[in-house]
Amino acid sequence: MRRLLAACLVSLAPLAAMAQQVTHFTLENGMEVVVIEDRRAPVVTHMVWYRAGSADEEPGVSGVAHFLEHLLFKGTDTLAPGEFSATVARNGGSDNAFTSYDYTAYFQRIAADRLDLVMGMEADRMVNLRLDEADILTERDVIIEERNQRVENSPSALYREQKSALQYLNHRYGVPIIGWRHEMEALGLDDALAYYTRYYAPNNAILVVAGDADPGEVRALAEKHYGVIPANPDLPPRARPQEPPQLAERRMTFRDPRVSQPYVSRSYLAPERDSGAQERAAALTLLAQLLGGGQTAVLTQKLQFESQIAVQVGAWYSGMSLDSTTFDLVVVPAPGVTLAEAEAAMDDVLTGFLETGPDAAHLERIKSQLRAQEIYDRDDASSLARRYGAALTQGLTVADVQAWPDILQAVGAEDIMTAARDVLDRRQSVTGWLMAPEVTQ
């Protein structure tokens, strides 16, 4: 019944007992290194993460972290503008970068034997960037078109931007990563270079190499390329303005003629994962799953299956964050249901949940899915690389990342109820309605 027609030599190496092993060490200049071994295919993902994102910007230059990320693809002392990506491409690789509130990261995905090449170029642009005014002007147009595409053309994105601004009174998480348009339009060379010299240094960076890489070889290459860059002794301590306790509920209604499907969403100010103390965040992670994670979740069952007030619901908690984060809910009402009715129905479900607590079997199902997740995740070394990079730029350690699955499993129903009562308090929430303009006669 079985015929072997072809045996192709492509990629998968002989099987390893475990797909991944994680090694962690620090270079003498303070640069941390994480190596995630997955030897199944001759590919590596090489990433450098900086502990600097949009929330580390000075007031008045919003968007400069992301703008600088774009400018890092311009020239250095030894590379012409565009040569970085062109060299990666000529070697069969691809490269890109991304900016968030708490980090900026650059990565290449390339054949394992080209690690030396990309590491050399990445180390080069950590300190040797060369920019001129012409680079600045054209690239500023590009980021404004990026803002047009991601934000201005989408009422949902504009709504989320306004809502974040309302959520954070004092913390820079209230300012969009891409920047406020009027500030983006005024960004200059000096702004970008000031951010660059302040934050781009080995003692503010984390190297993550995932894939077909030997930790000893990675250490030797890292010492050769990154180890020779001196630490920046003037790196400022990472102390950003913190959010005060929220004492009064805030609300907004955002109207835009381009809205054809209205919805209501709410965010509650919530604690983040902290190193050595991730238990509350674990409880909130499970709470989000119980309330809105899939078809058997409480909000889904009550609002989509039973009352059919909603066509879609969701609950999210993003615990990976350096400072205070949010717990988020959304309800998309069925036709004929007003946003007031949808919101009231959502609050009824929350009130009911706070009285009865989670169903034990439901909680057990969520935990078994999280256990399985650890197995499925081993199939994708690049996403593990992102997990470690994000954790280490957001106040967590390798040990915290590795302890997280067990901490999730140890959460009990009472932990979840305590976290739910603390967080699901209207006084520390922002509720928004996204809708079309009222029709006037």
Binding site: A41, G82, G294, V311
Partner: protein, 437 residues
Amino acid sequence: MIRFVLTLVLLAAALPARAGVEVAEITTPGGLNAWLVEDHSIPFVALELRFRGGTSLDATGARGATNLMVGLLEEGAGERDARAFTQATEELAARFGYSASDDAVSISARFLTESREPSVDLLRDSLIAPRFDDDAIERVRAQVLAGLRAAETNPRDIASREAARLIYGTHPYGSKREGTPESVAALTRDDILEAHKGALARDRVYISAVGDITADELGALLDHLLGDLPETGAPLPPRAELTLPGGVKLVDFATPQSVALFVQPGIDRHHPDFFAAFILNHILGGGGFESRLMTEVREKRGLTYGVYSYIADRDAAEVWTGSVASANDRVAEAIAVIRAEWTRLRDEGVTAEELENAKTYLTGAYPLRFDGNGTIASIAVGMQMDGLPTDYIVNRNDMVNAVTLDEINRVAREWLDPEALTFVVVGQPEGLESTVN
């Protein structure tokens, strides 16, 4: 904020030889063909099924039936209603994905070795014995309608809809696969049953599995999973006639940034000129930051965040297409630059250096794609849909490398067609006139 998402990645000459993955082509005792890559390092299996036809099989007057049917497969099957089905899936920590495209119904499954049998039983129920309960139909119908409402005011969705209508007319490709609010509202349970019978049949299924399973185990699994599906389904749609008049079709919509799609006739992947055209597209607009369109429109002029092109080889039509988005006062210039580059490439061709760079990229990147069970399973089933043999994986780089400068420049002259290149623009662009009704 990803700086730019690479759309197409594809091969490496200088890679170190590795003891390799074996793609085994198997036939089950029941007569089903499948591709298998065994890899026992992680205790799960990635299984991919594709049923050719997809939403283009919708019966006349029942547009959206296949899409709605696929959305209902996990909403109750066999003995279990929607809630019980999901509970059972969650208990087993299996993951099933069901989706419908113009050319295929796709099923993606991941299940752990320890719970393989009960997981496959569940998956089987969803394919063979979906219940299509009335309450589930109404719930999923409401979700589809909500999606259609949202798409009505999204400029990218409007551009796709209007481009499809212009190019494909009354062919199924000419309308949204989800249907219209009216057609979806009118769908009956019988329409859904008919769509199920028409779409999921053994004569059109393609199968790949990667991970912790042997050939014998897979054979038995597949016969159990798919053995009771009907032998044949609905007839596949006819070829689509393309209407590509050239010029610009403007769709007025109040939004600050115009979205433009551009389309000209494409090329079948089995045509002898395909590899040359494929490399040509990489140089034009398929690569990362180095393509001509990215260089001219973004890097030199800052007119857009991203511009790209690709060759879409669909079952019933081939087009060469792409997109760009620019502020209303700048999109006319972006379009003029794209047209000029299209014409320059046709008339002047590519340089030897551009061809060489494209080849090293394409040949270097190809093996990097085979880096996990999930990705390999997905590539393997796509190759079968495209009618490619398993040894394509080892021969592909040679086919890329065989393309000569003369050949690619002849293909540029013969295939690039700036006169037929048609732009559909949604927004309120300045200095742009509609030339197509």
